[in-house]
Amino acid sequence: MANYLAQFQTIKNSCDRLVAAVEDVCDLWPTVKGLFEEHQPLKRAFLTNKTRNPVFVENLPVEFILTTDARLRSRFPQEQYLFWFREPYATIVLVTCEDLDEFKNILKPRLKLIVQNDEREWFIVFVSKAHPSNDQATKNVKKVYAKLEVDFSSKKRERCCKLDVHGPEGNFWEDLELKITECIRNTLDRRAQFYEDEIRKLSEQRFMPIWNFCNFFILKESLAFIFEMAHLHEDALREYDELELCYLETVNMPGKQRDFGGFDGEDDQAVLLKPGSKPLTQIVQDDSFREFEFRQYLFACQSRLLFKLNRPFEVASRGYSFVISFAKALTLHESVLPFCMREVWVITACLALIEATASHHHDGVVAPDIEKEFFRLQGDLYSLSRVKFMRLGYLIGYGTDIEKSPLNSACLSMLPWPKPAVWPSLPQDASSEVLEKEKTILQATSRTKHFGIQRKALPLEPSVLLRVANRRRASLSTGNIPEMFDGRPSFTEGSGLEASPRTPSSLKVQAPPMSRTNSSPGNFESPLDRPMRLAEIFVAAEHALRLTISDHDLLKTLSSIQDFENKYLNLTKGAAENYHRSWWKRHGVVLDGEIAAVCFKHGKYDLAANSYEKVCALYAGEGWQDLLAEVLPNLAQCQKILDDQAGYMSSCVRLLSLDKGLFSSKERQAFQSEVVTLAHSEMKNPVPLDVSSLITFSGNTGPPLQLCDGDPGNLSVTVWSGFPDDITLDSLSLTLVATNNTDEGGQALKSSAATVLNPGRNTITFALPPQKPGSYVLGVVTGQIGRLRFRSHSFSKGGPADSDDFMSYEKPTRPILKVSKPRALVDLAAAVSSALLINEAQWIGIIVRPIAYSLKGAILHIDTGPGLKIEDSYGIEMERYMDADCDTGASKAEVFVEDSPVSSKRDSEVLNLCDGKIVFSDWASNVSSILWVPVRALSEKLARGSSSVTPLKQDILEGMRTVALKLEFGVHHNQIFERTIAAHFTDPFDVTTRVANKCNDGTLVLQVMLHSLVKANLIVLDVWLDLQDGFIHGQNDGRPTSTFFPLVVSPGSRAAVVFSICLDKSMSSEGKDLQLPESILNIKYGIHGDRAAGAHRPVDADHSETDTEGRDLVFKSAIVLQRPVLDPCLTVGFLPLPSDGLRVGKLITMQWRVERLKELKESEAVEQQHDEVLYEVNANSENWMIAGRKRGHVSLSEEQGSRVVISILCVPLVAGYVRPPQLGLPNVEEANVSSNPSGPHLVCVLPPLLSSSYCLPVK
């Protein structure tokens, strides 16, 4: 059946749509052809696919052909089944008739004859030509059509429809379309079934010798073509997939050895998207097809169908897999194919797929994830073509221009060399090209890395090209063995790249065989068999590629370095863009690095820097330092050339931050010198630099530094330097951040001078000013190198002291400084609360108690208030103080006093007051101590005694004295504590006097009570009284009546002494002035007391050890003695009233007796007359009527005892109890007048008697 292949292809090319035959019985087709063709393609066709499922096909084109057409008439019956796909799928019978009899006699038999062939799907279209206005013709047409329907339509299927040329019915075309679709569906099912049956028969013979793939292919593709014409693309695609599987199975059958193909002129260009590029008759081979062409043909058919299904993504996906698998097939046949056939085919295939799928792709049509996958496939195709293109470029000598990056190195060095049967040899006339190529190799010098980095270049070869090419050459050599041995030394020269700088030595190596060859006359072919040099390999490969490549555009891109680089750049950009769109950022960014390398080579440093920054950001962000070390020097070089100082500085710091194993110490020193040099230069706009990865810091191990509020201090911080050499910082600052208040900014601590950081660990001490209370952690370290301002905000480990690993992820938040809240650090208090002696030298005790704070070097300022002064002649004693309760303290104090001679050097000291201040000793820094300050309270007032009649209240404030204390302490005397201590001073005694008794002779017994006011035993040695005027001493001349001295008065107790005094009667002496208005009580006493308890012996007594008694003390108190108040001179006596009582209206005589008791004083006598006394009667005029004189003088002798009686007449006026008249002496003071006997207060007055003098009896 091989002859059917050409016919099959010819027929297939001429058919592109389904055919519907038109049986024109009554010559109606010219009339209705336009109408029919206007209504195609079919709008909504329902077909059935291979699995009997309905498929909705839109816009199914159908071609109407008359049965008398030449295309349907000239066919032979025996060929119809094989090419059944081209036969009509429906038969439309056009009839018209207006006469019933004509229908019965002529038309009906003819129609029955036409439709008797059951293999054809048919239906009848009755065309009516009757005009609607002609009622008779319309009726006749209807009758004929009804008859037609009865004859040809059955219950199962309607086969008739009516077309009215003048006005067709509304649903006629829909009805027509339905009928055509039904016919097509039935025909399609029948023919598909036929083809499948035939295919199954042939498949059963697959493993038999008579198996013929061509026949199978014709049937399979016919079935696919049927589906394709019916727009059932899914089914067609499935047929092609099955065909491909069957073909691969046939190809892999081990029996037959077939030709692969690929030797035609333009076979290097992939035709996987062009099914008609080569006729099938050309690629047929016995009973099958050549693999090279047929597999591409199959893929092209599949792609065409997928494009019709609007699935470019699937074309890309299948295409990528197809390219990979087809490349493997090309590898198997590489030895017989032209040189680098595989590489060229892959390039053209990928580019064709990229172009086709991109043109068919529309954004937003498919789901986002499918779209991402599509872009990834595009990127993969670009990358694959890029790799092959680089390989070709390398083979013809462009390897020195390919960037030796990890991407290119990984792609090329892991890709095996092409394996031709014979490596291409050098043409005869290519000497000039060889010289040109060698010149290019010599001129190509590798780009020197910045900073003098001596990193070894990554390889671009899987193995040494020189060895591979010459080994293949030598294996076919016909020369003798000695010449082959002479050629061996060139194999061991190293990699191909290393051979390029050693070309002169290579020439020397090649010279001896040539000379020996010339000297041998018998071997004429020796020059052709010598090993080729690298340049010769390149030229030979170039010539071979010109024979392989038929695409002029591809050939042009390999003709020069510039064109090669342009193509290379386009492929790289295409891959990068598609990878970015597919969210494969690593692939995309890595390819951006390749673009940057090309831009860098051509001087476009700004573009290169932008791309390099992306690559560095990717590697640095993900911590791949080995890969970052490859790219970061390039970025730094770009930034330096572009004069981007900030970026360049940052890049150098990042280079220093990488692992130490990636660069040598010499290189790292170069990085540091760049940083320092640039820092000290005149930068245009200095920017802050983050060196967190180079300079890290941590607090010292151990507890945090504890300070009190207001305390300065020194803070030690460990700073780790990652610089390889010493680096000098002009300034260094550290920020402290309070943990309890995050809103507040940190406070900066500055290092005093320039700091030199050594590599590794450094300890920096910062002066710490007073801080607010709180907990502080380390914040940021900032500093300055030249004009560069840097900062570091990361911590290093605070682990072992010898650990140099400062790239840890640990970020401890351990507080490094704690400042306590303001609290009492020291307490100054009075040691004694009871009173001290006034006007005597006394010790004031001041207790100094440090509260968890050192008082080392403290200075105490002592300032006394008014009325108090310090005895400068004595020192201030400082002793250790036992802090206990009162009783225990007292007892311990006594014990302490006993032990003081033993431990005086350690626990007590005498300090001298200088300028009002004393300095504490070291032993008193942390213990409670007591200061004894000698002071004297001054008071000019004389103590005044009180009497029992008018007690005198003591004013407490009079004895109050104050001592102002100011203590400066702390490391820098920054802590100040001030307090004013109150001290009480008092007199030793409180004196109270009273008159105990009065004797008949006028002697008074005066009792004086002494009340002790201090907490000490007072010993009274002597008491005497100096009397004021008006009083004289009794018998003892001012001494007490009893002598019990010395008299001991306990604290708080009382004692009394008694004096005998008399009133002084010699007041009449004239001219004597009042010398003493008050009496003075003098007390001579001693005191036994402890200064820790209260009043004590005066200060000077302690120092005079020889005088045990000491000086006696004298206390003076003023006492006021008053003369008696009552001193009568006259007395007035009331004489008794008559016994008959008082009655209203009755006259009564009242009498008073006035008697002189003693003579008046001289001063009073002057005012009074000597012998007359003025009297006055006082009475209530409403109650009494006075008859007689109310006021007058009576004669009274001055002698003592003289008497006179005064009498007056008075009449009571009111009855009841009334007050009687009173007699008074106006000119005599009341003190000198007494009443004896006293008169009554009230008298009873009776009512008046009834009177009969005015009543006369009636006669």
């Binding site: 095996p416 911590g623 791949w624 992820y809």
Partner: protein
């Protein structure tokens, strides 16, 4: 036995925390860098595949000429990546499972910060022993 193998553990933040060149072939000086580059590029594939399957062992996620990248994703999204040229899939899976248990033991150390570099020599010794055993 694999001739060429490079094993890298990548943390959840895409930072490599452990690297080891395992295998019996003589190593080239620059092979480690190329292997790291290939595994770094394969992370693009893993980030798509990791969310499409519930299995931890992702088998062969990428190919690079004759080298294959196999990945094992832990529950915490730590990726154990192996670049190898052998076809011993069962051995590779067992290797991953054993190393995963070692990694869990590392995580149980309270002094180890998750995401930081694994510097335990004991871990390194055990990983290399497992590589010789299974790969």
């Amino acid at each position: 036995m694999a001739n060429t193998a490079c094993f890298i553990i990548v943390g959840r933040n895409d930072i490599p925390i452990y690297e080891a060149e395992v295998g019996s072939a003589a190593k080239r000086e620059d092979a480690a860098q190329l292997h790291q580059f290939i595994l770094h590029a394969a992370l693009d594939v893993v980030q798509d595949l990791a969310w499409t399957t519930s299995a931890m062992f992702l088998k062969s996620v990428d190919r690079f000429n004759d080298l294959v990248v196999s990945v094992y994703v832990t529950a915490g999204h730590t990726r154990l990546m192996l670049l190898h040229d052998s076809r011993n899939e069962d051995g590779i899976k067992s290797f991953f499972q054993e190393v995963h248990e070692l990694y869990i033991k590392i995580l149980l150390n309270p002094l180890y910060l998750p995401g930081s570099r694994i510097t335990s020599s004991h871990f390194d010794t055990k990983v290399r022993a497992l590589a010789r055993k299974y790969l």
